[in-house]
Symmetry: C3
Subunit: 202 residues, 3 copies
């Protein structure tokens, strides 16, 4: 639920910057907080998704949206706190997403990737709705942190290690990698520069 | 079916303005008319969606697309008629979407929201395909009208009122709010202005 | 699998041009190669989709992504080969998509359209993630070639002709139309020019 709340905050803050109206900000809050879980549930056939049947996801998302709508300058000042909370949300979503995929019998590699998708899907939908290239595709260590956390959960499952311990370990690793990436400005490599810059797509 | 037709008209008209080719206009017509219902059906697990198994949705969508392709100046002149018809489509989609979600046993709040999604989903997909921020997120009383209509259907269900009467009431309320919003230029509030205008997203 | 590989190449090449990072290029490779099949499987209720449960789709997609990441100038020089391979991928996806939809009992027209969607869905998702209007909606004979190939498979099914022969015929027709369209610069008609150019959307 904390993860849902901070992801909704990130969606609402992005909506405020794009000058959406009240409904738009609520919609992007909900989408940013719940699209990852909804995408995972649709892909594994667990319909209707929990975000649709459990009203608490909606309530938490809207609370974050209303808060941001009225106090967005304050939330902007809390920028660093929101970034840390977002890293926490990413860790919780990646771990719980991987656990749910394992429980439904998906193969290990796919369970890890679905954990990652649970973590990053909300941000992708937020950016698509706001007509931007998803930031997770462009820079920063974000998806990789989610993948590492999810992989630890899946690895523990394969080695029959205690699930709760591995879940905590996975969440801490994801959270730690993400925080270090923020503090140290880590980036993934981009492809080498090209001669054909700005040429039309084929 | 009238709702499908006018939503397809709105998609085709938007496609003509963005200079899509014949196939693109047909595709956006179909997406604008049917994405809301398809999204609702995927979320509640009612697969395959009616828009995929019942050829009439396709036929009506393509008819609207062909009409717009050849006579788009005339349809542009019918601008006000299309706006009114679109309000009618919104009302019909919101009410029928809420009814279908209730019939599948979803909780009341979620049934109302899925009714709204059925009404607005097509426009969102149309705008995503045309690379624009969905207009429903930015301005105008549109989603709220759909939500009001869907909420009346759900409220009637909770109070065990006659479903047909409540469906008609919900559709009329949605249609009325939307028409009033168009005539009186109602808007939802946007967030208060910001110091950090045009700053990069975090 | 060849289709998956060349579609992933097209996604990765587009990602390199938009200066995504390593993860972004892998993600767009996978999305471009598998979104068509995933969309089809979600619509017909065949969850989890094969692209999620069978690790080979992932492996082939990532291989194409890594190849493009390191050798994209070479792949750019192979431009014409990639276009031809893409036409082959389109043919294979359209035919296999139509076969799967028929096997699940969808009506003939819808099976043909789902075959087409299997072929074009990856390119649509690739362009949405890169914040562009999907190229398949704007120009060139692409979706129509996929539809023709899928329609031949469906027509053969209706006439109880030998499925393998019809699948080969459908794939050849799709491949041939697409290659001819590239060589001869065929385009679909766009709507007649308009007075209200660049006017705001309604």
């Amino acid at each position: 639920m904390l993860g849902t709340f901070v992801f909704a905050l990130s969606g609402a803050a992005a909506g405020v910057k794009r000058k959406l109206d009240f409904f738009g900000i609520m919609a992007v809050s909900f989408a940013a907080a719940n699209s990852g879980g909804i995408a995972r549930d649709l892909l594994i056939g667990a319909t209707p998704p929990a975000a649709i049947t459990d009203w608490r996801y909606l309530a938490v998302s809207l609370a974050a949206g209303v808060l941001t709508f009225f106090w967005h300058p304050a939330i902007h000042r809390l920028h660093h706190f929101v970034l840390i909370a977002d890293a926490g949300g990413l860790a919780l979503f990646a771990v719980s997403g991987a656990q749910k995929a394992l429980a439904l019998g998906l193969p290990p590699v796919m369970a890890a990737l679905l954990g990652m998708l649970t973590g990053i899907g909300g941000g992708i939908m937020r950016d698509l709705l706001l007509n931007e290239v998803p930031s997770v595709l462009r820079s920063e260590i974000y998806a990789i942190a989610a993948l590492a956390g999810a992989a630890i959960v899946v690895g523990g499952h394969l080695l029959v290690l205690p699930p709760t311990t591995m879940a905590i370990a996975g969440a801490l690793v994801c959270f730690g990698i993400r925080l270090l990436a923020i503090v140290r400005h880590w980036h993934l490599p981009a492809p080498a520069s090209q001669a054909q810059q700005h040429s039309e797509r084929d």
